[in-house]
């Protein structure tokens, strides 16, 4: 773990009253092997790993046997080895009813009030259905869930999610798995400026460490990503690269960047310059 993240002067990531040293939340899907998944989680230094639910085949003799039997339990045993806190999602849900019921199933199965709330409204972009999202968030917050809504960068939707009881917002950078980076830095900057006290996490669309650093330089609190690490040629090395970029972006934001300008401004002091600025008659 980088020394800065454990130093007393460094504030951690706050999520519903808990504090975490790492600002990197990592997904657990699409890795080449279970061993690489665990190694990538370790290399990322992430304290939080996203998980999901799957249909589980039975184990009884002759009854409803399918390939992949017991895969869910194998994954459960594996992911517990990571020691990470789990953030279950409602991936694949397209209605409020589906999302709310999946959230309840996740709460029972993973013994956590945390839920990454996804209500998908469009198949090509996997864009959130923000109307359903807000409605589901209201229901789940009222039922005691601690909701991490996967949303767009829309300011009004963000306001409604916060009013519903969400303390964390997770706007997309770009469509899930696209690797496009931050499609709309202006909107993300506006979101940060309007909600200085909310925990904001860019979730989805990040493809490169530099894009993650860019989001952190905008003042975002954390990054959640999966595909960019899992599908890299070397997921473990990429996890390290993202961890360093996220840390660097966060340090840069706290350090206070200069304002860009159009014209040059000499960095070397001109006072007392030698003869080459003297007029020669």
């Amino acid at each position: 773990m980088p020394a800065s993240l454990t130093s007393p002067s460094s504030k951690g990531l706050r999520l519903y009253g808990s504090e975490f040293a790492s600002r990197f939340l990592i997904g657990s899907a699409q890795y080449p092997s279970p061993a690489i998944l665990l190694d990538a989680i370790a290399a990322s230094e992430a304290s939080i790993v996203t998980v999901s639910l799957r249909r589980e085949a039975g184990n009884s003799k002759g009854a409803h046997k399918e390939a992949g039997e017991g895969a869910g339990q194998q994954f459960w045993s594996l992911i517990q080895q990571s020691g990470a806190r789990l953030l279950p999602n409602t991936a694949g849900c397209k209605s409020v009813k589906e999302a709310v019921n999946t959230a309840h199933m996740a709460r029972e199965l993973f013994s956590t009030p945390w839920i990454k709330l996804e209500v998908i409204g469009e198949d090509d972009t996997l864009q959130p259905d923000v109307f359903g999202l807000v409605e589901a968030a209201r229901i789940l917050c009222a039922e005691g869930f601690q909701v991490f809504p996967y949303t767009t960068d829309d300011l009004v939707v963000a306001e409604k999610l916060l009013a519903a009881g969400c303390e964390v917002l997770m706007p997309w950078g770009a469509p899930i798995g696209s690797g496009r980076g931050l499609n709309n830095p202006f909107a993300l900057r506006a979101l940060r400026a309007h909600f200085p006290d909310a925990t904001l996490i860019v979730d989805a669309g990040i493809g490169l460490p530099s894009q993650a650093a860019q989001a952190m330089e905008l003042g975002y609190d954390a990054i959640l990503l999966n595909t960019a690490v899992a599908k890299a040629s070397d997921p473990v090395a990429m996890a390290t690269a993202f961890a360093q970029a996220i840390d660097a972006g966060h340090r840069a934001f706290n350090a206070g960047a200069i304002e860009p300008r159009d014209m040059a401004c000499p960095s070397t002091p001109v006072l007392g310059s030698p003869f080459w600025h003297v007029d020669h008659d």
């Binding site: 997904g27 657990s28 999901s52 249909r55 589980e56 039975g58 895969a71 339990q73 999602n89 996740a106």
Partner: protein, 65 residues
């Protein structure tokens, strides 16, 4: 009785959800359940009857992003 289990047809003689989960060989504490689109808590499975054409979901942990 014919039901839908995780989207697949199944003939079963079990009349409640707890009996079905057990008959399928699941550890009751390691799966989550729903019937007809509604979550059924672990503690309510024995009191949840199954009917002809009931749609049962039995879910377990999986990887996710």
């Amino acid at each position: 009785m014919k039901i839908q289990l995780n989207g697949t047809h199944l003939d079963t003689e079990h009349n409640d959800l707890a009996a079905l989960v057990s008959a399928l060989g699941h550890d009751a504490d390691k799966v989550a359940t729903a019937v007809d689109g509604l979550f059924v808590p672990r503690t309510a499975r024995a009191q949840t009857p199954l009917h002809e054409a009931s749609a049962v979901e039995i879910l377990a942990p999986m990887e996710g992003g």
